[in-house]
Symmetry: C2
Subunit: 329 residues, 2 copies
């Protein structure tokens, strides 16, 4: 199998690459084990350190460059399309968001259409496709009414991936990811970046800013379960997915206050005290415009799973990112 | 007011132009009457006969040509975007459908964004945004699951028009039109073209082919009510529409068999006998993939109206297209 990961230098892309290299193969359609020949990481921020394994190829470039894309897809079998301009940035710079999130996707889809063998594509969407007005509980059948350009671009992407799949140009699967928490690394330009930093920074001995009210509800998924979901979306057979290519994923719903309480319980109140509450009405508005309560029935039937609770998410973060040790106070 | 009608040489475009010229003005936001300075008809098939009035400007060109579009939108206040590659053609020629229905719309939206004064746009979508699986009754809140490329392109268009409006680039309104019947003129490449020809051709002394089973349900709107709806969509104030820019329109639901019975009752069985039933499984599949039963609550609240019954639609067709006279048998 020849694999392409767009946005391959991001944290999900790097973790996915490590998992794939360690496994040495992917399992498709339930039982077909296919060895991995090559993993191409397409990312403007990719550096050569990622190419520590001979199976990894680095392509430094952007989705807005058709030449790079056509080079990236040559002979490809499986694509995880993770690259995106995130929510706040796509709102601040409309043209940039359109270029990468819409036109970049269109170029990628057209390039894949020209490849033989109907390449399989996992497209990452999110619950930002929803916006107010919307029902209190988001089922698989609620109409997307995006109130951000990022959400609009993701909703459009879902429709494009679905039709390119229906026509047999690709075999696409669009997963709607909850907000990932606890995301390792640095804050990014997503309005949701605080959902990770209020846990990550205090545990690393740093201050974090929480720009929303404690009662604000979020819908989240841990990095471990997000990686499981991305692998599962690729594994499933074409037939088990059927005509509807969009799969909203299960997560857990909790308040920001509950997240902080869980941190306090696990790491102590001196660590939780590193959170400064600095209200930002614009972030509050964007985060509140996203759904918090979701019934992801179809994904559960297809074998996708969310996390047990937030305590286990914190434990996994300490294990994966801090070698299991809390830093000294 | 300077007006642009894309697809202005089509039958809806021509009838809308005549209505506007006769009225001499448009009423906006409930009571603001604005005189019409110019109506630009953008259409690859426009001919000079349409320019019988000094207020009409003809622009022969396609939506796939950015130069033509930028010429068309200069100084424009109101746009009715009617141009499209219709369902069967967009399915047969994917690239053509994408070029006009998606890239053409994107070019138009970008051109309007650069115009001052936030031009008002009425975008024509349709119920082809739905496809199986779907619920038996389509409310305003059912998720579009297109199973045709035309339906996908229209659903994407609705999302684009909504976000360009939310950002204040334009003041857009996307109306989902039922199948128009009885459409005057010639059959076109829409899978639904028979919904008009089985009435129009027999009344004009010609044979018509019905490619679907008599029990097939259709959801229709007359040309008169469609024009009313297009005018109403332009008239409504920005505030009365609010954040959701998509307005599914009311129509009537009936079977193809009931349509033929109504024709028989109005014009006699010798006229209805001009219909040949020649089953086409592909047309049956496409038409069956569209919804037939719709609850258009929001549109009714906003003052849009469907037809009373199919008998009145036949009467209106005879009045408008046959000068009120049935041709001799």
């Amino acid at each position: 199998m020849r694999i392409l990961i767009t946005g391959g230098a991001g944290f999900i892309g790097r973790k996915l690459t490590e998992r794939l290299l360690a496994a040495g193969a992917v399992t498709l359609d339930g039982d077909r084990r296919e060895p991995i020949e090559q993993i191409t990481l397409l990312d403007p921020y990719a550096d050569e350190t990622a190419a520590h394994d001979p199976r990894v190829r680095i392509l430094r470039g952007s989705l807005s460059d058709p030449g790079t894309i056509s080079k990236a897809v040559q002979g490809v079998d499986l694509v995880w399309h993770l690259a995106a301009i995130v929510s706040s940035e796509a709102e601040a710079d409309f043209d940039l968001g359109m270029n990468v999130n819409l036109h970049g996707l269109l170029t990628l889809l057209e390039a894949l259409r020209r490849e033989p063998g109907r390449p399989r594509l996992v497209y990452t969407s999110g619950f930002a496709v929803f916006g107010r007005p919307m029902p209190d509980i988001i089922t698989d059948h609620v109409i997307p009414t995006p109130q951000s350009s990022y959400g609009m671009q993701k909703a459009v992407g879902e429709l494009l991936v679905s039709d390119y799949s229906r026509r047999g140009f690709i075999d696409g699967r669009a997963v709607r990811l909850p907000t990932i928490s606890v995301r390792p690394g640095k804050p990014n330009k997503a309005a949701s970046t605080f959902v990770s930093s209020i846990i990550r920074e205090p545990l690393a001995g740093q201050e974090a800013v929480c720009p929303v009210k404690p009662e604000t509800l979020v819908y989240i998924l841990s990095p471990r379960r997000a990686l499981d979901a991305l692998e599962r979306a690729m594994t499933l057979s074409d037939a088990s997915i059927g005509p509807i290519r969009i799969i909203p994923l299960p997560g857990i719903t909790l308040s920001v206050g509950d997240m902080v309480s869980a941190l306090e319980k696990r790491a102590g109140d001196r660590i939780a005290a590193r959170i400064r509450w600095e209200f930002d009405p614009e972030i509050q508005r964007i985060v509140e415009s996203w759904p918090s309560t979701v019934k992801a029935e179809r994904a559960l039937e297809l074998g996708f799973a969310g996390d047990r609770d937030f305590a286990s998410i914190i434990d996994a973060h300490i294990e994966d990112e801090l070698n299991g040790v809390l830093p000294p106070l």
